[in-house]
């Protein structure tokens, strides 16, 4: 081809690119178009006759994905005309899609906060209605370890923080030994295992460490693991697999996924607490609502989790995941569907189903009342 011909080709390519860029720029903030389309279908095609029918889409936390799947299956069974989809894109992705209007509701492992400007944007998205944010999924995070022959391992919060901060490097360290009298600890290198992907589990666990052992754990609380040099694995299953594969490994994972691995007992007050559903749910009863996270919204229930509690029978290393929605939607049928689904998810039946399917801790009676009131405000 002659050079002038090439020039023409290049010019044509440039024009095409500019065209593509012009089209692409606008949609950059909302990352999904498939959900948007499914939502708009619900407005047009949903039959308004029955109370809970039509189609809505949710997205967010992978931690509550198993529970969401179970709720959706049961809810759709009970309400023939309803179709709900939940996309486990992760909490951050879910919040972003909710704010941009891509999905009707979101699931998030951390409450919307003003520090990232998300709370304000979410309130705006719900106008003229109001924002609804309620905890729906509480799950204990277990400290799992792999030490053949060690049936029971007790750890004080400080010791736990030092292990994960790589300050204690051997299992027969006197600091661990003095808490575990009578247990023969092997001389094995400690390999702390953390999540390599950003996760709500990490954020909740580092929040716990920074609250109970502030002198040891000086890192910022974040979904990204702050300490370099440990073993890192992707996803809860990755962490469990890595701990199971490596003798001397210790990690943190959703208690329901821990399987056969040993779960460490953590000192709370003067007791040694075990990760259990009841002990996890009790923490929220002892926690105070956080006015900053609630931003003056009366239908937002967000806790400052009381990690430092010394009460008996509680296990403070928990993950609390929330449902995020609005009190008003573009169509009444959409609002009714969201309301119906939220009501089912937080109901004792829904919570029992989540406990059975995902090993979560059911909301306490007291909390259920508060949450029901907030969800009841959806029109």
């Amino acid at each position: 081809m002659s050079s002038s011909r090439w020039l023409a080709v290049f010019a044509a390519a440039c024009v095409l690119v500019l065209g593509l860029a012009a089209c692409g720029g606008g949609s950059s903030s909302s990352s999904s178009s498939s959900n948007e389309s499914s939502e708009s279908e619900s407005e047009g095609g949903g039959a308004p006759s029955s109370e809970a029918s039509g189609e809505i889409a949710g997205a967010g936390s992978t931690a509550q994905e198993a529970a969401q799947k179970a709720w959706i299956a049961e809810f759709e069974n009970a309400n023939g005309g309803a179709t709900i989809s939940y996309d486990g894109v992760g909490s951050g992705g879910g919040r972003e899609k909710f704010i941009s209007g891509g999905v009707a509701y979101a699931g998030s492992d951390t409450p919307l906060s003003e520090s990232e400007g998300e709370l304000g944007k979410a309130i705006k998205r719900c106008e003229p209605g109001q924002l609804v944010e309620v905890p729906d999924y509480i799950s204990p995070i277990a400290i799992i370890y792999n030490l053949p022959g060690v049936e029971e391992l007790k750890l004080e919060p400080e010791t736990l923080a030092k292990i994960f901060n790589q300050e204690i490097e051997n299992w027969n360290d006197p600091e661990i030994a003095k808490e575990n009298e009578g247990v023969e600890l092997p001389e094995t290198r400690i390999v702390p295992v953390n999540r390599s992907d950003e996760s709500g589990t990490t954020e909740n666990f580092t929040d716990y460490l920074s609250k109970v052992a502030p002198s040891v754990w000086t890192h910022e609380v974040s979904g990204e693991w702050p300490v370099k040099g440990g073993e890192a694995a992707s996803g809860t299953s990755g962490v469990v697999e890595a701990v199971a594969a490596g003798e001397g490994a210790i990690g943190y994972a959703d208690a329901s996924q821990a399987g056969e691995l040993g779960k460490a007992l953590i000192k709370v007050g003067s007791e040694w607490a075990e990760p259990s559903a009841e002990a996890a749910a009790k923490v929220l009863d002892l926690s105070k609502e956080d006015p900053e996270l609630e931003g003056g919204q009366k239908n937002v229930i967000a806790f400052e989790i009381d990690r430092k509690t010394e009460a008996s029978g509680v296990y403070p290393i928990i993950l609390v995941s929330s449902l995020i929605g609005c009190t008003e939607y573009k169509s009444a049928s959409e609002a009714a569907l969201v309301k119906g689904f939220f009501e089912y998810a937080i109901s004792p039946d829904g919570q029992a189903l989540a406990e059975e399917q995902a090993g979560s801790a059911p909301l306490s009676e007291e909390l259920t009342k508060k949450v029901e009131a907030a969800v009841g405000s959806i029109k």
């Binding site: 095409l16 073993e231 490596g246």
Partner: protein, 317 residues
């Protein structure tokens, strides 16, 4: 040269003889080809535009605004290093192996075995990368633990085997091996194709002059196939640099820049880092990840240009 001219003339004659119909066909074909070429250019440039516009906010943000409070350069440098290390490691393992496999298939193995082996190597390319990732953590990783312990004990004085050896096997060395297996079929397919096209005259000539089989391969087959092997290797390198799932699943990514191949603290790669962190990211963190994607794009482009340059230089001779 004369031979080439006659065919062109014949073509022109044919075209002239059948009149406008033939010419229209030519025109449609030529335009279709041009459109295809332009589409490729446009796609590539479109991706570049997307990466630049979406990555721009992170590139211009001050380090205090970025998540993690570090500058873009210090964020991306260990990732770029990890990407390069994984790619180089995979190449060091895969290229000699792929060339050897290709030589065996084209020049050494009996025809039937060669066909079967070629088929099996091609089959490797059909395995999805997530399967390679799972194989890496469940089979290869644990199996490599004793070997890495041995390396640490016997060769620990070499920095790359410094240790302490990982107890789970999720190391850069294992990732390099898995990537090598993944890119092996690409490189060996290209090498096989070109080796089998080595002119018989040259090969027979070398043997007539008393060359052994190895000398014949060294003096005729390898030089003839060199530039194609390089471009095949670059195709493989491109896949290794961009490989996402296998690396994200296998690698224990918790270190900065480190040449240590057998420890639990490894630098992440750009692609794996995006896959691991995108789901939970929002706002500027997404721009930051896309900006790292731009860096990967530039790295891949640079390696390809470099490869073309090497090929062009070797062809002049």
């Amino acid at each position: 040269m004369a031979h080439y001219d006659t065919t062109t003339n014949a073509g022109q004659l044919l075209a002239a003889a059948s009149g406008g119909r033939r010419r229209r066909g030519d025109r449609i074909f030529s335009n279709a080809a041009v459109i295809a070429a332009v589409t490729i250019l446009a796609l590539l440039a479109g991706v570049a535009v997307f990466l630049v516009t979406e990555g721009y906010p992170a590139l211009t943000a001050s380090s205090s605004e970025l998540p993690g409070h570090e500058s873009f350069i210090s964020y991306v440098a260990p990732l770029a290093f990890g990407t390069a290390l994984a790619g180089v490691l995979a190449m060091v393992i895969a290229v000699p192996l792929a060339v050897a496999v290709a030589l065996f298939i084209t020049h050494i193995a009996p025809a039937r075995i060669a066909m079967l082996l070629g088929f099996l190597v091609d089959l490797l390319a059909a395995i999805p990368s997530i399967i390679y990732g799972l194989w890496g953590i469940f089979v290869l990783g644990p199996a490599a633990v004793p070997a890495m312990k041995w390396l640490e004990e016997k060769l620990g004085f070499i920095p790359i085997f410094e240790g302490p050896a990982s107890i789970t096997g999720r190391t850069m060395l294992v990732v390099g091996l898995v990537l090598a297996v993944m890119i092996l079929p690409i490189i060996s397919a290209v090498a096989r194709e070109v080796f089998s096209q080595t002119p018989r005259k040259l090969q027979e000539g070398a043997q007539a002059l008393g060359a052994t089989r190895w000398e014949m391969i060294r003096t005729t087959v390898l030089p003839f196939g060199r530039s194609s092997v390089i471009s095949g290797a670059m195709l493989g390198l491109g896949r290794a640099l961009g490989e996402t799932m296998a690396v994200a699943i296998i690698l224990s990514v918790s270190g900065g820049v480190s040449f240590n191949l057998i420890s639990q603290a490894n630098p992440s790669t750009i692609a794996a880092n995006i896959a691991l962190n995108f789901p939970e990211s929002s706002g500027l963190a997404i721009n930051l990840l896309i900006a790292t994607g731009l860096v990967l794009f530039v790295i891949t482009l640079a390696t390809n240009f470099f490869a073309r340059w090497i090929i062009a230089r070797s062809e002049v001779k």
